[in-house]
């Protein structure tokens, strides 16, 4: 396996909840991300899935240093992202970039496309000498499949998919090594979504990029990811290769999530087992003790309320009574559940 380019350890991000107008006091903490660890390997796409409020977008913000981390480390090529400042942080910006979700607000409506894609070069003038910039902008437009003639247009003259391409060109301008994609296709129509996903896959090959691909759509994540992490209420609950997660999920949340995805095949109607979760996701201000999923889990026992299950491979599970149910060789992967168990045929 290739070496990790990004190593995240015990990442925590809590947002204080404040009350009061003049004298604001902290009355609680939104535990948006609460101890997340993962490695991103070179040239790999790590998918992060989870429902709204699970902390996946906060994860992106913290990794981009848009929000300060509460604790934890993130090493990019051995260098701690969170300790960088000044020019070192600026240097890091060239290596890690982000593609945002909403193509309608992520582009400044009063800047031309040329200015938008050229801005990275203005901020980092050392990347491209002034004379080269125009040519570079045109080249980038071409790379993402837009006509270089469009430099003088404004964002509103483009459709959603085209705007997302502009956002991708901007992220690509500084030739980063890692791109964090925060729900890059969820605001797009199906037919356009496919175009943008193909583009992302193509760019990864062409520029040997590594992606952290954050999305709530499980099919989209599977399509692009090599490995997948599933998040629930600020924690990573299961992590494995795309095949392990989608074909051999062992965490009950992952299983429920996968079985809830509607399958575009009416002949399977009523034939597949759908795990219907009850209730809503608990508030991240006061998450349940122990396993955070226990309040909605059909397998929950007393142990789940008292002890937090670590994200470990059940083959080496420290908890007594937990057994790896067999299944395929090599299907064993980390799952933060006291009673991990493979369920046959979760995905139809």
């Amino acid at each position: 396996m290739s070496e990790p380019i990004l190593q995240v350890r015990d990442l925590v991000k809590h947002f204080p909840v404040k009350r009061g107008v003049l004298f604001r006091r902290t009355i609680g903490q939104v535990k948006a991300v609460d101890g997340v660890s993962f490695d991103l390997n070179k040239g790999e796409t790590l998918g992060v899935v989870g429902e709204s409020g699970c902390g996946k977008s906060t994860l992106a913000q913290v990794l981009m240093r848009l929000e300060p981390a509460t604790s934890g480390t993130a090493l990019f090529e051995g260098q701690d992202i969170f300790s960088l400042n000044g020019s070192a942080l600026r240097r890091l910006r060239r290596d890690i970039q982000i593609v945002l979700q909403d193509p309608y607000t992520s582009l400044n409506p009063r800047m031309t496309v040329g200015d938008i894609i050229g801005e990275p070069f203005e901020i980092h003038p050392e990347v491209a000498p002034k004379g080269d910039r125009k040519a570079k902008v045109r080249e980038l437009l071409d790379v993402v499949g837009l006509s270089p003639e469009h430099v003088n247009r404004y964002p509103h003259q483009f459709s959603g998919g085209q705007r997302q391409r502009i956002g991708i060109a901007r992220a690509l301008a500084l030739r980063p090594k890692v791109i964090i994609c925060d729900e890059p296709v969820s605001a797009l129509d199906v037919s356009i979504q496919a175009q943008v996903m193909n583009l992302l896959a193509e760019l990864r090959r062409e520029f040997s990029l590594s992606y952290v691909f954050i999305a709530h759509d499980l099919s989209v994540v599977r399509h692009l990811s090599d490995r997948v992490g599933v998040m629930y209420l600020g924690r990573m609950v299961e992590m494995g290769t795309e095949e392990q997660i989608y074909e051999h999920p062992t965490h009950p949340y992952t299983q429920a999530l996968l079985s809830s995805v509607p399958v575009p095949d009416p002949s399977l109607r009523g034939q597949r087992e759908i795990i219907r979760l009850t209730g809503d996701v608990p508030s991240p201000v006061s998450p349940p003790s122990g396993c955070r999923f226990r309040t909605r889990c059909w397998k929950a026992r007393d142990l789940c309320a008292t002890e937090t299950p670590p994200l470990v491979d059940p083959g080496t599970s420290p908890v007594e009574g937990a057994t790896w149910p067999g299944g395929d060789e090599g299907a064993s992967h980390p799952s933060a559940c006291h009673f991990p168990e493979e369920k046959p045929k979760v995905v139809a």
């Binding site: 003049l22 913000q61 981009m64 848009l66 942080l89 600026r90 910006r93 970039q97 982000i98 945002l100 979700q101 909403d102 309608y104 607000t105 992520s106 582009l107 400044n108 409506p109 009063r110 800047m111 031309t112 040329g114 200015d115 050229g118 801005e119 990275p120 901020i123 980092h124 125009k134 902008v137 003639e149 469009h150 430099v151 003088n152 247009r153 404004y154 509103h156 003259q157 483009f158 459709s159 959603g160 085209q162 956002g167 901007r170 500084l174």
Partner: protein
């Protein structure tokens, strides 16, 4: 003065809805202007589009005309605006005096011409001052937030809470007690100063709320992720997107300020004779409205045309700065 923030945000929502219709209905439509290989930017495009707008041209011509009048009143009249002949008092317009005579028998036409200078200077400079000061403070308060915002906002509230006339009387009578022989230039600047000091909180509030909205947009996030400095974010990303409501307010406020100058003159703390201003003329005419309406009609009409010109200019600039309106 009411808080115009609400109106500003309502306007924003409308544009958003409009945008959605356009975006949905049109997909990609060919861009305006030919792609001539040169890269353009917002301000350049705005200038090109401004020059094509009849509203801009009309307002610019009026403003240019007023400016010439302010600089060279002798080109338009040779009558001394201060020469009083009581035998002509309150005479209605005639071939001799196109706008008639006032209470003291002075030529109203000459006075309107000579009054442009003081009125225009007060209006334009007070507006510029208010807009610049208020916008800057509002931008910084909105962008940085936290304690800086709290302090600046409370500070603005203090000035906002002062009734304008009372505040202006205090300021002007402190700097300029009755009987002091200060020249008109000094008094004009004192009037401008008191208007700016007492009105900047309005623009500050408009700008602050616009900046708060703009700050949360994803494009600001993207710029920060690229490593853009706060100055860059404020002036490249926030300012162009927050300018519109302030421009609209500013162009309307200009007229108000000219009228405010009149109020101060009327109260005896502003400009006074021998300085001629529309404000002084309007306040002189107030009590005689029923006897000699022409005394009010002409300076007020000139004021209305001036305000209209600036409102049109503000509108044209706002539209030119909005790529969707081109």
């Amino acid at each position: 003065m009411t808080d115009p923030t609400a109106a500003a945000s309502a306007g924003k929502m409308e544009t958003r809805a409009q945008e959605e219709i356009t975006a949905e209905g049109h997909g990609a439509r060919p861009g305006g202007g030919a792609d001539d290989g040169k890269q353009r930017s917002l301000w350049g495009d705005a200038w090109v589009s401004l020059r094509r707008r009849p509203i801009f041209i009309i307002s610019a011509v009026i403003i240019l005309f007023l400016t010439v009048m302010a600089l060279f009143p002798g080109l338009f009249t040779s009558v001394d605006p201060t020469k009083a002949d009581l035998s002509l008092a309150r005479q209605t317009p005639s071939a001799d005096a196109w706008f008639g005579y006032d209470q003291q028998g002075r030529d109203i036409y000459a006075r309107v011409i000579h009054g442009v200078r003081a009125s225009l200077v007060v209006g334009v400079l007070a507006t510029l001052g208010t807009v610049l000061l208020g916008s800057l403070v509002g931008l910084f308060a909105g962008f940085y937030g936290g304690w800086l915002d709290a302090i600046l906002s409370r500070f603005a509230d203090v000035f906002f809470g002062l009734p304008f006339v009372l505040g202006a009387i205090v300021i002007l009578s402190t700097f300029n007690p009755p009987g002091t022989p200060y020249g008109p230039v000094r008094i004009i600047f004192q009037v401008i100063f008191s208007i700016v000091v007492l009105s900047w909180p309005v623009t500050m509030r408009i700008m602050r709320s616009a900046a708060l909205t703009a700050k949360q947009q994803d494009y600001v996030k993207a710029a920060r992720a690229l490593g853009a400095s706060p100055t860059r974010i404020i002036f490249r990303h926030l300012l162009p997107n927050t300018l519109a409501p302030v421009l609209v307010y500013g162009s309307i406020a200009l007229g108000t300020y000219i009228a405010l100058e009149a109020t101060l003159s009327f109260l005896g703390v502003g400009l006074r004779t021998p300085v001629v201003s529309w404000g002084v003329m309007i306040s002189d005419a107030k009590e005689l409205l029923r006897i000699a309406p022409h005394m009010l009609l002409f300076p007020a009409g000139a004021l209305a045309v001036t305000v209209l010109a600036f409102v049109m200019l503000g509108d044209a600039v706002r539209d030119a700065l909005d790529p969707k309106m081109r």
